[in-house]
Symmetry: C2
DNA sequence: TCAAAAGTGTTGGGAGTACACCCATGA
DNA sequence: TCATGGGTGTACTCCCAACACTTTTGA
């Protein structure tokens, strides 16, 4: 910032290229957990991660899907306020978990002008969603990590399937950071393939040392349901006794029970706020 | 982003308030570890974290200190390229550790116009710095966490002392996130007090589960020196045997030794790249 | 009756904590 | 000589993985 040594010099440069057609967007990676229908009356429904995507019908990305976002109103809002406004518009929800993810840019990100995008991750309990969202739809996420650092992601909303793969290239050894290179992607606009993977990894990393999952849970839940959410985020099966011990002091047993599952009923728990 | 349903509508809004006087900067939190002189010939020099600040002599922050930064050249560079350019300008260093920290904004951040700033943390081994930097100076950092979630930070470059304090207000329980409220600050421009604390916390969090410290180390170092760097970042004393076991497989013993310390000489180690 | 899930107890290994101890140096 | 830091061994604690086991339900 010390480029401008005086007010005069600053004003002289005021209309130079730093102001030229720059705009910002806040993009929201809205994640939740969905229930898959089960045929066997005994089985509990399995869960999947899901993401809200919006279908674009504007030039130049007509027909492509993207993470919901909106342009920053430069005069009137902060980036986070912008993110909340987009959330409200897309889901009619307020006061949900929102966390800044990363600021993505790239000179050719948008062919129309220079756009820098700050992305946010939002987590919701899908049951809270009442209104049917227009031009948007929830996609179930399947994520497969292959051995050569290639990640295959499949998004499925029941009607359309989006597939893309990303190669993780080691960028820096000391902190184990990777650059994401999109290998294949035909249906996602912008660099949203990268945004999605970043967000999923962020949540996965936070699961083990925070209580972040409770933002995706309803008020009352069984320990089995909670465990399933952990499992779907971590993408691996957990052992029941270990899991129960670990989350024991994070939850509070209620006297409510869930019956009707063709098996022993389970107590409902809620998040202990201490 | 689905605000613009068609190209026409998009173009109609092209010159609306989203383009009005928006600019971005990349700000660099350049951190290192300094050696304090020791009077006793036996004692090893103690270390402190240190930060590079630039003195502003431009309106409206004349006389204040700030984290070095520069405006994004909208047409020609990415934010990260901008950060690297600033690094090069301030320190003449290239290829050092650089990590995006957070995108700070706030409508009134800069009184002249709307500026959104993406901050980066850079780590260096101070010995690599050859050139004397103009208008900039290294400050030793003292950080005291008080019990009521107030953090006192003192920056000292030998001539001038900058003191500020920040209150950490719980923003969100599940992931233990805090908002920073600057309680007191007279000598730092913009919101750089917050930027500094964010960066210090980021590094501290990463110390335990990454090899990030090695970015601040010279090629050869003793285990005592390495331990001191861990201690100064974590702000607590570590036990020797435990520390040695933990970092044992991250370092490689060389046959070089450091003598002349008034005590048993120590082997020099280097980072094991595996 | 029995498959499925709820829920508990026990054991062992690996990681970190704490402490005790010896080694080598140079003013 | 001795304060100072370099360096190692060991015993203890705690957490978590793994496994075995019992309980309860509804078609």
């Amino acid at each position: 910032m010390s480029e401008y040594k005086s007010e005069e010099e600053f004003l002289k440069n005021y209309d130079s290229s730093i102001f030229e057609k720059l705009s910002m967007t806040a993009d929201i990676l809205l994640l939740s957990v969905s229930d898959q229908e089960q045929t066997n009356y005994r089985k509990t429904s399995t869960k999947m991660m899901s993401i809200l995507l919006a279908k674009r019908d504007d030039y130049p990305y007509k027909g492509k899907w993207c993470v919901p976002g909106g342009f920053l109103d430069v005069k009137n809002e902060t980036l986070e306020e912008c993110a909340k406004r987009v959330m409200k518009r897309e889901t009619n929800l307020e006061d949900i978990y929102l966390e800044q993810l990363y600021t993505f840019d790239g000179i050719d990100r948008d062919p129309r002008m220079r756009v820098v995008s700050t992305s946010y991750v939002a987590l919701v309990d899908k049951n809270k969603l009442t209104q049917k969202v227009e031009h948007a739809s929830w996609f179930d996420i399947t994520l497969i990590e292959e051995k050569d650092n290639v990640v295959e992601i499949t998004l499925d909303n029941g009607e359309e399937v989006i597939r893309f793969s990303i190669k993780k290239v080691l960028r820096e050894k000391t902190t184990d950071r990777y650059d994401f290179e999109v290998v294949e992607n035909d249906k996602l606009a912008f660099d949203h393939a990268k945004v999605i993977l970043s967000g999923l990894e962020r949540i996965r990393n936070k699961v083990n040392y925070t209580d972040i999952v409770f933002n995706m849970m309803p008020e009352y839940f069984t320990l089995g349901e909670l465990q399933q959410v952990y499992e779907v985020i971590l993408n691996k099966k957990l052992l029941d006794p270990a899991f129960r011990r670990i989350i024991a002091d994070k939850v509070e047993k209620t006297n409510k029970m869930r019956t009707g599952g063709g098996h022993r009923p389970s107590y409902l728990f809620k998040y202990k706020k201490n």
